[in-house]
Amino acid sequence: MIVRILGEGQWEVSDEHLVELNKLDEAVEKAVESGDQVTFSQSFSALLDSVRTEGTHLPDETLHDSDLILPPSDASLEEVRELLEDEGLIPG
């Protein structure tokens, strides 16, 4: 499975690792919903770190779309919310 971290690139992540990613993802989602900044930044960076360390970084010239896409590492809680809700962050 290919995961993209916006602004960083793509990683190939094994299926076994998805269980852990799902858990981390859930924590981020809850934090976004509750608006809990501290939990958000902790769980979000844990999620990204997990992709970076467990995944295999794909070369830049790989022409493959991703199965999953994650916000840029410096995205704020508000930006993630915008990314989910409207068209603010992604230019048409």
């Binding site: 995961v3 993209r4 916006l6 602004g7 690139g9 998805l18 990613l21 799902n22 993802d25 859930e26 981020v28 989602e29 976004v32 070369p59 830049d60 010239e61 790989t62 022409l63 493959h64 779309d65 991703s66 199965d67 999953l68 896409i69 994650l70 916000p71 840029p72 993630v80 990314l83 989910l84 068209e87 962050l89 992604i90 230019p91 048409g92």
Partner: protein, 261 residues
């Protein structure tokens, strides 16, 4: 996988909307390639813009640091001639500058970060565009229009996602830079208006530089006199270093009063 899934879906649908739509799917490849080139130009321009902003902030930091050093040496000089009031004034102004400088340093680091990010985005896009070009030529040479569709879709979605990513990076960098440029403009105006530059120069009755100048002229005369009396030539560094022991504080005070009279 809800959060990542949702973002992926939204992002992908945007990226797909941006793709097209030609009669012959193979034309789509050329059309997309053109848009990739355009985006490469845009991201290069983005890198240059951020670099310009960064250099501007660097220049401002240098200007303010020079000013700050000047105030520091004025404070030292003032202390060496026993004028704590002047030294205090110089240090107070310096502390104001230090706050400005620290603020600018934070901005500088942020701009540097944006510049690095955009440079990396440019490299990634460049690599993908190059891969796309090769793939495009292969597809056009190998397949009929009907056969090509699947391969084209693969290549297009791979590059489309990258283009969305880079487009977003450019936009974020632009937003951040715009905010900082507004603040940098304010600092420029401040420097231009002389509020910072002239803080120790002419214009104020109690000006530090002027008072110190007047005092050191008096001390110069005193030092030369002392040198003549002792039969040696005057040492030019003696006053600046504040180790001229010939004039007592009381004498200096008197000289100062005479100087001002």
């Amino acid at each position: 996988m809800s959060l990542m899934k949702r973002i992926s879906l939204i992002f992908r649908s945007k990226a797909n909307q941006a793709l097209d739509k030609a009669e012959d799917p193979r034309q789509t490849l050329d059309y997309s390639y053109q848009r990739q080139q355009d985006l490469l130009v845009k991201v290069r321009r983005g890198v240059a813009d951020v670099a310009t902003s960064r250099k501007r902030v660097e220049l401002q930091i240098n200007q303010l640091e020079q000013q700050s050093n000047k105030l520091q040496s004025q404070a030292e000089k003032a202390i060496s001639v026993d004028r704590e009031d002047l030294a205090r004034e110089a240090l107070t102004r310096k502390s104001g500058l230090t706050t400005q400088i620290n603020d600018l340093r934070v901005q500088h680091a942020q701009l540097q970060g944006e510049e690095e990010k955009l440079t990396l985005a440019q490299q990634r896009l460049q690599a993908k565009v190059e891969a796309f070009r090769t793939r495009k030529e292969t597809i056009k040479a190998t397949y009929t229009a009907a056969e090509a569709q699947t391969r084209i879709n693969e290549a297009m979605s791979g590059i489309g996602e990258e283009m969305g990513d880079v487009g977003m990076a450019i936009q974020r960098a632009e937003d951040k830079t715009a905010q900082m440029q507004a603040r940098a403009g304010a600092v420029d105006e401040l420097i231009a208006s002389g509020a910072l530059e002239d803080v120790t120069a002419i214009g104020r009755g109690d000006d530090i530089a002027r008072e110190l100048d007047a005092m050191s002229k008096e001390s110069d005369v005193e030092a030369e006199l002392a040198a003549l009396k002792s039969g040696s030539s005057p040492s030019p560094g003696a006053i600046e270093g504040g180790n001229n022991t010939q004039a007592t504080p009381a004498q200096e005070e008197r000289q100062k009063e005479e100087g001002q009279a």
